[in-house]
């Protein structure tokens, strides 16, 4: 079985992350309950003829994937695999509201076509002229990890040698409104630094696109090795430690081999307890990081987590803003990521310096 390497990254997020030469040098602060992506100049990446139909999620993906492809110095890939939790929300909202508001009259096709979940994957393929394997996973907080796993399997078995993998979700007005109505979004605004101490229900919703070029050939510029990915539809708090140990053991690692633990804490008082199980128990001696105060919560926010881990492996530095505890790792080789959303769809991801 071949090994799998992260060759490049591309990110559009609520922080200025679309410039790969920087690493959270400037932080975009907020005091809000939803945070939007910091936009690159889309015109620089997407021809206007294509951009005119694209909603934000597709635009963010087009940019993030282009950045990743350029950095990896590849013009085409063997496969394109994307993950999205809610798909193209804005176009879906546009079409549904048009149906209701106009009583099904004078409907136009563009927003319907753009609303299908695999539009991002399809558009990237169109742009690259890539006729290879093209899948889209849509399953809440393991959408991105499903895409990663699929890519990893293909690369390990040498069924492909370069694959573009990404996670994307966008904010839509109506979708935000209804999630507010059921308290999935915080009722009161919080600041970036105050997210975890808010002790309230709900999360701060965000949006973004994070893409990676994976390959089974290492290069001098590889970010790191993608060692393992595992997902669980359900996982009781009482079984979390056992699951973490099993995951590490299956990869010949002990808890003490993990240098950094990257967690998906999103400030939701009801569900951050899952992370506490690992923070206070198994990994109490490990340097712990979090990232959703920077990216916001969305189904594929864990792709931002992987972006963070990849950047850390490459630069061998940890920006202070992501520290969750006061410990300092002696080396930055092995990073374990854990995420879940509202108690479901948990994932462990392991990356290593190569």
């Amino acid at each position: 079985m071949k090994k799998v390497y992260i060759q490049s990254v591309g990110s559009v997020s609520a922080q200025k992350t679309f410039d790969n030469s920087e690493f959270l040098d400037e932080i975009t602060e907020y005091y809000d309950t939803i945070i939007f992506a910091v936009n690159p100049v889309y015109k620089d990446y997407i021809p206007p003829a294509a951009a005119r139909r694209m909603a934000k999620g597709i635009k963010m993906s087009a940019v993030a994937s282009k950045i990743a492809l350029t950095e990896a110095e590849v013009e085409n890939v063997d496969a394109i695999i994307t993950g999205t939790g809610m798909g193209c929300v804005r176009d879906s909202e546009k079409f549904v509201s048009a149906i209701i508001d106009n009583d099904e009259a004078y409907l136009t096709p563009t927003s319907f076509i753009q609303s299908t979940h695999n539009t991002v994957g399809g558009q990237i393929a169109l742009g690259l002229g890539c006729k290879g394997y093209n899948f889209t996973y849509v399953h809440s907080s393991i959408s991105f990890e499903s895409a990663l796993l699929d890519a990893k399997m293909q690369l390990e078995l040498d069924e492909a040698s370069t694959i573009l993998v990404g996670g994307v979700d966008e904010l839509g007005d109506h979708t935000v409104a209804i999630h507010r109505a059921i308290n999935h979004i915080k009722l009161k605004a919080v600041s970036l630094g105050g997210l975890l101490s808010s002790r309230t229900e709900g999360a701060v919703f965000g949006e973004g696109a994070n893409f990676f070029v994976l390959s089974n050939e290492k290069s001098d510029t590889s970010y790191g090795e993608l060692v393992a990915v595992d997902t669980f539809n359900t996982l009781q708090k009482g079984k979390l430690i056992e699951a973490a140990i099993t995951f590490l053991t299956q990869n010949d690692l002990k808890v003490t081999d993990v240098d950094l633990l990257v967690l998906g804490n999103n400030g939701d008082i009801e569900f951050d307890d899952y992370y506490r199980v690992l923070q206070d128990g198994l990994f109490s001696e490990t340097q712990q990081l979090y990232y959703k105060h920077l990216s916001g919560e969305f189904n594929t926010a864990s792709s931002f987590g992987l972006w963070l881990a990849s950047k850390i492996l490459k630069t061998q530095t940890v920006p202070g803003i992501v520290n969750l505890n006061d410990l300092s790792a002696s080396k930055l080789d092995v990073i374990l990521l854990y995420n879940q959303y509202r108690g479901l769809n948990h994932s462990f991801t392991l990356v290593r310096k190569c």
């Binding site: 099904e104 409907l107 076509i113 393929a125 002229g129 899948f135």
Partner: protein
């Protein structure tokens, strides 16, 4: 296997309808749409209430129709596979949908903001929710459960991914399939593309006017060799080959020469280790749109040359069930293999002028060893799965 479609609520009912030529296409009855008299659909007779009762769900459940259909089909599949202990082996679930909970969202879109009694469906909108509900119904916990959404090729892709998970040794058993219900969203969406027929659809016919939408769910239980041996299972068929490729031509239309479909079929044959001549029957995507049938027809000729095997589209029976299509047609392909029978391509009158392909028009008894099933979706997503009688 398990299935619920416009032609039956079980595998046996679907099979009977197929061999008796009984199509399930009619005017829509459960959705209030102004398009009612201008379209025909493959609607499942059971109402949501009937399905809820069948599943024994409590009144406070938040199952959308997609989840209800999926649960019914998945439970039949597990029962037919004689699985008594789902936790005995490493089991996963890979499902597919395009509609998800949109049937509820479009109904309660504005109500969600003011009527708290409707809000339980908000969580059920996203594609993964119906899959999670199926997992709950089957007792699958702490396992790999995920959903694929690549438009009309979705369920075929679920089958492919499930097969690969077993092949790679990650799982011993994977339940694969898909579910989609009818919705105003998809009805109007396809109407704006002007590819819906106002009468019974006529796949591969020169005068075809478009497709009939349908709703359905189907699941298949894939198991590894070891599990089959250990449990002394009766194997219905083998997932012998599979391939996914992208047309990279246009967002919704297929390329004139069916490049994506050609590549998908070639990939599937390669994985199977087959020559084109090994295929005995093609269950085509055959939606009866001007574009698909021409493009797919050309792709079939690209791959099979002058030796095109018997082929037919079963969408004249069930309608185009979108994300579920790849799964229900997988069930039909397996039934074909089991019974050595080729299902007819209904409603056909006139050969297409672009080539000399004629689908199989009558029910045909023929020894079958390998069946190829195509599912071609928006975004240029083309998938092919090959089923075989022997390993």
């Amino acid at each position: 296997m398990g299935i619920i479609s416009a032609i039956g609520n079980t595998v046996a009912e679907n099979y009977d309808a197929l061999i008796e030529g009984r199509k399930g296409i009619s005017r829509i009855s459960k959705i209030n749409t102004i398009q009612r008299d201008e379209i025909m659909v493959g609607e499942i007779a059971a109402s949501n209430d009937a399905l809820i009762e069948l599943l024994g769900l409590p009144p406070e459940n938040n199952y959308c129709r997609t989840a209800l259909l999926g649960a019914v089909a998945a439970k039949e599949a597990i029962a037919n596979a004689q699985i008594t202990d789902i936790k005995k082996y490493r089991t996963g679930l890979v499902s597919a949908t395009s509609v998800g909970g949109m049937d509820m969202t479009e109904k309660y879109y504005y109500d969600y903001l003011t009527d708290t009694s409707t809000q339980k469906y908000i969580d059920g909108h996203h594609a993964g929710d119906s899959t999670q509900k199926v997992a709950e119904q089957l007792g699958i916990e702490q396992s790999l459960v995920t959903s694929i959404s690549t438009a009309c090729s979705s369920a075929a892709n679920s089958i492919m991914f499930g097969a690969r998970l077993i092949k790679s040794g990650k799982l011993d058993r994977v339940i694969v399939g898909g579910a989609d219900c009818l919705s105003k969203f998809t009805i109007n969406g396809f109407k704006t593309l002007m590819i819906l027929s106002d009468t019974y659809s006529t796949p591969f016919d020169e005068n075809r006017k478009g497709l009939n939408l349908g709703e359905a769910a189907a699941f298949l239980v894939l198991e590894s060799e070891e599990v089959v041996k250990a449990e002394n299972k009766n194997v219905l068929a083998y997932v012998k080959g599979y391939g996914n490729a992208n047309d990279a031509y246009h967002q919704t239309a297929s390329s004139e020469n069916g490049d994506g479909a050609t590549l998908a079929m070639e990939k599937a044959l390669k994985v199977a280790g087959y020559e084109p001549s090994d295929i005995d029957y093609i269950n085509a995507h055959g939606t009866a749109t001007g574009n698909n049938d021409l493009s797919e027809g050309r792709a079939i000729i690209n791959v099979f040359g002058s030796n095109v095997p018997d082929f037919s589209s079963t969408k004249a029976y069930t309608g185009h069930t979108l994300a579920a299509a790849g799964a229900i047609e997988a069930v039909f392909s397996v039934l074909a293999l089991q019974h050595d029978i080729i299902f007819p391509n209904l409603n056909y009158k006139t050969q297409m002028k672009e080539f000399s392909l004629r689908p199989q028009l009558a029910l045909k008894e023929k020894g079958l060893d390998a069946v190829l099933s195509n599912s071609l979706g928006f975004g240029g997503n083309c998938s092919t799965v090959i089923f075989s009688k022997q390993a």
